[in-house]
């Protein structure tokens, strides 16, 4: 493999310092939040930023996972700082005990080595992936580049869906659909201050501009909802038992009153550029007691709504068929856990 190209490297110690650097360097700066995706991309010259800002030593992003009080001490919420590694999140006692589905989801990402380097913030902001984009410069030259990586050229069509007005690269973050379905809260910090955003609004259905986040903004922490009456699961489909990005993921979060489903949130990933919410499936479940035919109905709605492109491993028609199977299994798992 060819070595990394040249870049300037910052390693700020505080959030304040970090946002200041990002602000002054502007668009040419890219955040390193683990680098397990970025550095391989740079070696293959997919991304060639001239400035890197590492968050590895920003102390605010490496606090312990802990509860904070909100609403004037009425409630408390668990907060995950974004700089923690995926292994740290996975193995955290509070997460394991109260949000076991987060542990399970993070443990399904990549490989143990990558998880001990990659961070939760990095995974949530993971670049979208495509079989025409995640290739070396030479490869992309051969196919004359693509919409997501036009290399300075104008009007390069999407190579997967040539008629598409937007890039269709796939959201490949395993944690994104889960946090969307959980309706967690993302905190974003910049020179201008702090804002919060719902995960479902954080992601954009555009493979090229896939986050509602400016280059100089940092995803600093994630606040989780109360785990009370919360039933959640994320199932991931991939070719191998380790290493692979999802070719399909299904996150389902149910809030129950007694035996009845009060609220349902269902998100799919890897079949679109953002985690997509499947409203029809949610509707099919609300008010039910997760009867099998309701589960099948929800699964079938999701299958019908999903429109995977030929831009990951496996054929798209098979992935579409699998949407129904995966969601059915996710819901059956919740049902069996509940009883």
């Amino acid at each position: 493999m060819i070595r990394l190209p040249e870049f300037r490297y910052y390693r700020p110690k505080t959030l304040k310092e970090a946002v200041k650097i990002l602000n002054s360097e502007g668009e040419k700066a890219v955040i390193v939040a683990g680098g397990t995706d970025l550095f391989p991309n740079m070696k293959r010259r997919i991304q060639t930023p001239s400035v890197l800002v590492s968050l590895q030593q920003v102390k605010e992003l490496h606090r312990k996972i802990s509860y904070t009080k909100i609403n004037g001490d009425q409630e408390k919420r668990l907060v995950i700082p974004s700089g923690l590694t995926l292994s740290e999140v996975c193995e955290n006692r509070l997460i394991r005990e109260n949000y076991p589905f987060i542990s399970k989801t993070t443990s399904s990402i990549a490989t143990p080595l990558i998880r001990s380097m990659g961070t939760i913030g990095g995974n949530l902001c993971l670049d979208t992936r495509c079989t025409y984009y995640n290739q070396s410069l030479e490869w992309r030259e051969s196919v004359d580049f693509c919409m997501k990586a036009p290399e300075g050229k104008l009007d390069i069509p999407c190579r997967v869906a040539p008629g598409s007005p937007r890039c269709v690269a796939a959201n490949s973050s395993d944690t994104a659909p889960l946090f969307c379905a959980l309706e967690a809260e993302f905190h974003i910090v910049s020179q201008e201050g702090e804002r919060t955003i719902k995960p479902a609004e954080f992601y954009r259905e555009d493979g090229e501009f896939y986050l509602n986040k400016k280059a100089e903004e940092i995803l600093s922490e994630i606040t989780l909802p109360s785990s009370e009456n919360l039933h959640a699961v994320y199932l991931k489909l991939r070719r191998r038992g380790s290493f692979d990005f999802p070719v399909l993921g299904a996150a389902a979060v149910l809030k129950m009153t007694g035996q009845k489903v009060k609220e349902a949130k269902i998100f799919l990933n890897a079949v679109s550029s953002a985690p997509i919410e499947v409203l029809e499936s949610e509707k099919a479940l609300i008010g039910t007691e997760l009867e099998e035919e309701k589960i099948l109905e929800a699964a079938e709605s999701a299958r019908q709504s999903a429109k995977p492109f030929d831009n990951t491993d496996f054929y798209p028609h098979w992935r579409k068929e699998m949407v129904g199977v995966l969601l059915k299994r996710a819901l059956l798992e919740l049902k069996s856990r509940k009883t």
Partner: protein, 811 residues
């Protein structure tokens, strides 16, 4: 020659002699090498599958700071290729490019980044031509590299005599070697004008010859040192452009030049498994006797010849070594396509037909209502027999292999008895232990070993063989250690250096243990004989009473009488002069005398049988391998630990081919590789690898050293068909192609699988050979006059490519 009860080192599961440097990262691979003033090389490769080069503009590249020398196709005029019949590649192409990744220009610079930037700055005007990206298209266009037709006996008569006829089409997808070490080479000019090339190669001798040819230098001015290989699997057994290019750059600049290829470049170097479309027709009698078999293969060869002629013949050669076949016909063709060239990968040309046969036998067994294990056992080729295509089988332990896996897996309680979704499948295989003939015709030994004993007791062993991770260094050390009675780790090995070591043809065709082992026995035996003579004189006893063991010479009859190994060496040195001995090995002659008979003969054949247990998810089509039982007839395990490692490695690779791996290209986008990286080209991870139960069957072969046969390749063969047979047992659908992707399984379950058809193909020329039983054996076995002619395979010029010179062929 040896008494099994007296063996001290052979048969012991000892760690590899080079395990420590390999495991601690201390071993110097080619990419680790560095030399003062060393330059770095990068190669610019074709971005198109098929194009003509109209103009090359290097003006920008020349201006990149740090660039020292640039080479293009104009700097080379002599073509090369691993087989004498396929001299069809140039180190750099200057007219036509035939696959994405074909080398066009080379850049030497002070550092790697400058070389890379220079390669980026090249500007080329191409005339792009529509490529042919499939077997069917190339057949239509007449892009036939080589065709072959052989008939042994009379298949039509055989079909008439059979009670049932089976006929089907099979497809085996191409896949690549995926050795962990990426190819690298460093060329170092000596002050006296000679050149040394270090390279991660399996074939230092052939590389030596090719460098001499393409650089137009006498071989005596070139030294090739094969660096330790971090895996080869056949992927380093061609000579490659980058090896010639850095050599030329070093000669022209007077500086050392190194190149380390990227993983992506290696997917384009390839030389891996040929995608093969097959048609198989088998006539059987009621008891399962195979009265007739007609096999056709169409191989997608990629852009160049490589080992392709041998690969083609191999698809037709080893059908006959497992079960008795009364009449047999093979017709095949290797086609050129505009893809990375295919070549030899573990099993070279034989896993594809084995896949077809073993699935068909499963179908035969079902129809005849005979247990598949029983059917195979009833019709085994006998030991010490000759096959219809004149392959001489020595020891044959397949029956015992089948028994072992049937018993170990609980086959009888599982086959057709497991619940829906779970299944077991059985398949077998056989492989050569070294090709009977060298790649280029010559009457010289295939392997030689030289031993030098130091008066301090040191043992130095010199041999051209290269350890590619399979453990051949340990094998060599163990064989010599056994005879000289010293510890294997005491032995100093000097291997794969054309200046210092006698020739060994290379680590390919599973030849090293058998050939190097036999040469080593001879050399060590000569050395120990000298020691015995000297010691016997001192002790005044006969030589046969002296035994070497544990670093000492003993009197067998009076073990209290002993002396140190070093003293024995000194006695011998005083008596005979320096103790240096040599041993050589040449395989026995093959009885086959027909055109094309050069591919298939071997001093011995290994055998394997496997049972695979799967669970298939009928909703997704996903196959989980639950367990693999495999028995391998190794003849004699020189090091059981290494042998089991090789068996497990083959199972791993076979499962990858069966389930996931595919070397495929985007025809719509200039023919680029679909997934030229280890993340997207899917092979099994440790999480996907099932438990493997390995049984070693030891049926010593008279031609093997201590009876040993091969293990590097053969155990792969039964795996893909065993998986396919297990899937049928699990869910009742027969899938006749690999990889068995979940989509295919699901499609087959829904009866929607696209049916593959075999294009109309007949070999233009079919050579009819009488069966050994029908022919006057004396003339076949003794006509040395005809021999050199018989080594040749038909060398008609290749269509669409430079005419090839003729020559002998083998693996």
């Amino acid at each position: 020659m040896f008494n099994p009860a007296e063996l001290n080192v052979i048969g012991k599961p000892i760690p590899k002699v080079d395990a420590l440097p390999r495991c601690t990262g201390k071993l110097q691979y080619a990419d680790d090498l560095t030399f003062p003033e060393m330059l770095f090389c990068k190669i610019y490769r074709s971005p198109y599958a098929h194009a003509f080069i109209k103009k090359i503009d290097l003006s920008k590249a020349k201006k990149i700071p740090g660039v020292v020398k640039i080479l293009t196709g104009e700097d080379f005029s002599i073509p090369f290729g691993i087989l004498p019949v396929s001299q069809d590649e140039y180190p750099l192409s200057n007219k036509e490019v035939r696959y994405v990744g074909e080398p066009i220009a080379a850049f030497a610079a002070l550092d790697e980044e400058s070389a890379y930037q220079a390669a980026k700055a090249i500007s080329i005007e191409f005339e792009i031509v529509k490529p042919s990206m499939s077997i069917e298209e190339s057949l239509k266009q007449g892009m036939i590299h080589k065709s072959a037709g052989l008939e042994f006996g009379d298949i039509e008569k055989g079909f008439l005599e059979s009670d049932d006829i089976f006929e089907n089409v099979y497809f085996y997808e191409g896949n690549t070697h995926l050795a962990l070490e990426e190819h690298a080479a460093a060329a170092v000019p000596d002050p006296d004008g000679k050149l040394t090339l270090y390279s991660s190669t399996q074939v230092p001798h052939y590389l030596h010859r090719t460098l001499a040819k393409t650089l137009n230098l006498p071989p005596s001015r070139i030294r090739v040192i094969a660096s330790p290989n971090g895996g080869g699997f056949g992927g380093k057994s061609d000579v490659f452009s980058h090896e010639i290019v850095v050599s030329k750059l070093a000669l022209l600049t007077g500086k050392p030049v190194k190149i380390s290829l990227t993983r992506e470049e290696i997917f384009y170097l390839h030389r891996g498994r040929h995608p093969t479309l097959m048609w198989l027709k088998t006539g059987v009698k009621k008891d399962g006797t195979i009265s007739s078999m007609h096999f056709k293969s169409l191989l997608d060869g990629g852009a160049y010849g490589s080992y392709g002629v041998a690969s083609l013949y191999y698809t037709g050669a080893l059908q006959t070594t497992t079960y008795k076949i009364e009449n047999y016909k093979f017709e095949g063709a290797r086609l050129f396509t505009h893809k990375a060239p295919c070549g030899p990968k573990r099993g070279h040309g034989t896993p594809q037909p084995r896949f077809a046969i073993e699935i068909m036998l499963d179908e035969v067994a079902e129809k005849l209502q005979i247990d598949p294990a029983e059917l195979r056992k009833k019709h085994l080729v006998q030991s010490n027999s000759i096959t219809p295509n004149y392959l001489k089988v020595g020891s044959m332990g397949l029956g015992k292999c089948i028994d072992k896996v049937v018993e170990g897996s609980g086959w009888k309680d599982k086959f057709r008895k497991l619940p829906y979704g779970k299944g077991v499948g059985l398949a077998c295989g056989s492989y050569i232990c070294g090709a009977g003939l060298p790649i280029y015709w010559n009457p010289l030994p295939h392997s030689s070993v030289m031993i030098k004993l130091d008066r301090g007791g040191g043992v130095s062993v010199y041999c051209g063989q290269i350890d590619i991770g399979q453990g051949s260094n340990s094998m060599l050390a163990q064989v010599v250690a056994e005879i000289l009675g010293v510890g294997p780790s005491e032995i100093k090995l000097c291997c794969a250096d054309t200046d210092l070591t006698p020739v060994d043809l290379g680590s390919y065709s599973s030849r090293v243990t058998l050939m190097v082992g036999n040469a080593a026995i001879q050399a060590a035996q000569k050395a120990v004989d000298l020691l015995k003579k000297a010691v016997s004189e001192k002790w005044g006893i006969s030589e046969d009473k002296i035994n070497f063991k544990n670093g000492k010479a003993f009197n067998r009859e009076n073990p209290d009488l002993s002396l140190d190994f070093s003293e024995a060496v000194q006695l011998a040195e005083a008596k005979f002069g320096a103790v240096c001995t040599v041993g050589s090995y040449t395989p026995p002659k093959s009885p086959g005398e027909y055109k094309g008979s050069g591919v298939g003969p071997s001093p011995a054949y290994s055998y394997s049988a496997s049972v695979v247990q799967v669970e298939v998810d009928p909703e997704t089509g996903i196959i989980q391998i639950e367990k693999v039982w495999i028995a391998h007839d190794i003849g004699k395990a020189i090091n059981p630990l290494s042998v089991i490692g090789q068996v497990e490695g083959s199972v791993y690779m076979g499962l990858g081919e069966a389930l996931m791996e595919e070397q495929t290209f985007r025809a719509r986008y200039n023919g680029v590789h679909k997934a030229p990286g280890m993340l997207d080209y899917k092979s099994l991870t440790s999480k996907d690898m099932p438990e493997v139960e390995t049984y070693l069957i030891e049926d010593p072969d008279p031609n093997g050293p201590y009876g040993a046969k091969e293990v590097g390749q053969g155990p792969l063969l039964p795996i893909p068909p065993a998986v396919a047979n297990a899937v049928y047992d699990a869910i009742g659908v027969r899938i006749r192609e690999i990889p068995l992707h979940p989509e295919k399984v699901l499609f087959a379950l829904k009866n929607k699988a696209p049916k593959r058809s075999f294009p109309s193909f007949h070999a233009p020329k079919v050579i009819r050979v009488p069966l050994p039983s029908e022919s006057p054996t004396t003339s076949l076995l003794s006509s040395d006059l005809l021999r050199s002619e018989s080594l040749r395979v038909d060398s008609s010029p290749s269509s669409g490519l430079p005419p090839s010179s003729s020559g002998a062929v083998s693996s």
